[in-house]
Amino acid sequence: MSIAVHWETAPSGLWSRMSLGQKQLIWAWGFLAVPLLFYVVIRFWPTFQAFYLSVTDWTITRPASFVGFENYTRLYADPLFWQVFRNTFLYLILGTPISLLISFVVAYYLDRVRFMHSFIRALYFLPFLTTAAAMAWVWRWFYQPVPIGVINDILSSFGIPQQPFLRSTSQALPAVLAPAIWAGLGFQIIIFLAGLRAIPTTYYEAARIDGLSEGAILRRITLPLVKPTLVFLVVFSSIGFLRIFDQVYNINTNDPGGPLNSTKPLVLMIYQTAFSSYEMGYAAAQTVVLFLILLAISLLQLRIMRDR
């Protein structure tokens, strides 16, 4: 009661003259200001800085001076860039569909399993929690020749010749991609499961009464209704594969991106340009190119998959 009286007896001041809506607005912006400021300083400012650096020749030892589009023309002429560009897109166009297909199939059947449902789900989610470095080391062992490598062990027990995996320029990229896909499955399965759970069971019951087969139910009801989830995961996982780095870096620490740059993605090239060669301006130009690729692909996917 005394508080109410206090408020009533203090009608003056800017705060008490404001409407309820204005007060809410001030509170909202008050809370938003802190993360917003943090974001501007930590994320946006360096981003703009990167755009600026990409048109300079800064190398840490030398102050930055404006060089125009020289870094970009150099990048365009660099055969390594085109190799890396190809690798990055291979990660994307193999990784995204394969990982989504596997995770959807797993989620689709896991959704129907009641027995040990949570345990199985946790099992799939576990790799997502594991550090990429530890995982890369384990997979590196898997790919070793007999008798260390499990995969070659299994192959040889079937009489199949030894595979070089990480040592081959043609097999290394898929071999690096496999643990990357495996690591992301848990997350995608959880998201797909949430999408599938959101579909009311009566939709399926009505379909069964109408006589739709399992395949028809999947095609005509389940897939269209998980489409929003699918769009999210396609964009999310595409960005992930375009930015692949730690999996590649850790699985081949002696020669990251090797053999002969056959597994090197764009982010690794940026890393090496910046922190091995210290060509900051050139590295910044590469990040700008990566940024534009990510932007273009995300927008393209959203446009294609948006509901018409």
Partner: protein, 356 residues
């Protein structure tokens, strides 16, 4: 068009039985309503008829054919769900056409059927719309359209009106009833709302805890409830039940006063005397009926009549007064019910004693 026969039907989940061996025969073209409180097994029974739940024991025959092991699609039934179950990603026309998924008709014939059904339900203008652009009542009509389009041998309704507001519910009730008259299809309708049951059913099946308590026409259930549960479940407001003890052919009411009991009641001493609020009024009905006095506690004005709650000996009794003779709260009031409008139940078994 078909008959549905249910015999010794049991549904168990693990060790828990939720339907305990029920028997029911539904005639061709009949509109049967399964009614009961939630958890009474009415929806489970309906879902077993549809084939969405497996039958633990017993038999269901549709048109004389045992359907226990048939897939839902092979039973030629149609079902309307509480949440409509119409698909948000396709148009109204496509939703209705889902009902014809297995039909061998050509595309144009299917289209014609869909249009014909839409015409019947007043959906013709909405065929190209998405369900999200429809109101609740229109969505419900689409769901009914999908059920109708196939000419099923029976319609199953699983609380289809529960998601609608009160006014729409009344309207859809009439529409479904009218459709049933027109199509004459066997229908099984599940609801927990006794008003829906009373207004729509040819026959009502009252269920409780997985058992059928009573089957009969709405009026039979209203006039001759077999037990306290049905008596209180059917009719609104619920029937007043006054404890009484039989002595020398008269029932002494615990709230005071006595009534001349029917002679057939001699078998037991503790009984419940039932009186519907509509039969309990301040108008004097003569000496033979029930008379209770108390103070007015609550008034519910309905316009056509006023429901009067009186307190008598710690018990609340609901009666009704004519619309323009409204008593005052706190005043003493005496209510009367004619003898032929009273119900008698055994207090221990809660079964009806003498049915007039």
């Amino acid at each position: 068009m078909a008959t549905i026969e249910i015999s010794r039907l049991v549904k168990r989940y693990g060790n828990t039985a939720v339907v305990h061996g029920i028997d029911l025969a539904i005639q061709d073209g009949e509109f049967v309503v399964l009614v009961g409180p939630s958890g009474c097994g009415k929806s489970t029974t309906l879902r077993m008829i549809a084939g969405l739940e497996e039958i633990s024991e017993g038999q269901i025959r549709i048109d004389g054919r045992v359907v226990n092991d048939l897939q839902p699609r092979d039973r030629n039934i149609a079902m309307v769900f509480q949440n409509y179950a119409i698909y948000p990603h396709v148009t109204v026309a496509d939703n209705i056409a889902f009902g014809l998924y297995r039909s061998k008709l050509s595309k144009s014939e299917k289209r014609a059927r869909v249009e014909q059904v839409a015409e019947t339900l007043g959906l013709s203008q909405l065929l190209e719309r998405r369900p999200s652009a429809l109101s609740g009542g229109q969505r419900q009509r689409v769901a009914i359209g999908r059920a109708m389009v196939r000419d099923p041998s029976a319609f199953l309704f699983d609380e289809p009106l529960s998601n609608l507001d009160a006014q729409l519910r009344t309207q859809m009730r009439i529409e479904i009833k009218r459709l049933h008259h027109r199509l004459g299809a066997t229908s099984v309708f599940v609801t927990h709302d006794q008003v829906e049951a009373m207004t729509m059913a040819d026959r009502i099946v009252v269920m409780r805890e997985g058992r059928i308590l009573q089957v009969g026409s709405p009026l039979e259930l209203y006039e001759k409830p077999v037990d306290v549960f049905t008596a209180r479940f059917i009719g609104s407001p619920t029937m007043n039940l006054l404890p009484a003890s039989l002595r020398d052919g008269r029932a002494q009411l615990s709230v005071g006063g006595s009534i001349q009991a029917p002679s057939s009641l001699a078998t037991t001493s503790d009984i419940l005397v039932g009186a519907r609020p509509q039969d309990l009024s301040p108008v004097d009905a003569g000496s033979s009926g029930l008379t209770v006095s108390g103070t007015v506690a609550v008034l519910e004005t309905l316009g056509s009549e006023t429901l009067v709650h009186i307190e008598a000996d710690g018990q609340t009794i609901i009666g009704s007064a004519p619309g323009r003779q409204i008593p005052k709260i706190g005043e003493p009031l005496t209510l009367h019910a004619p003898a032929e409008r009273l119900y008698y139940f055994d207090k221990a078994t809660e079964k009806a004693l003498a049915i007039q």
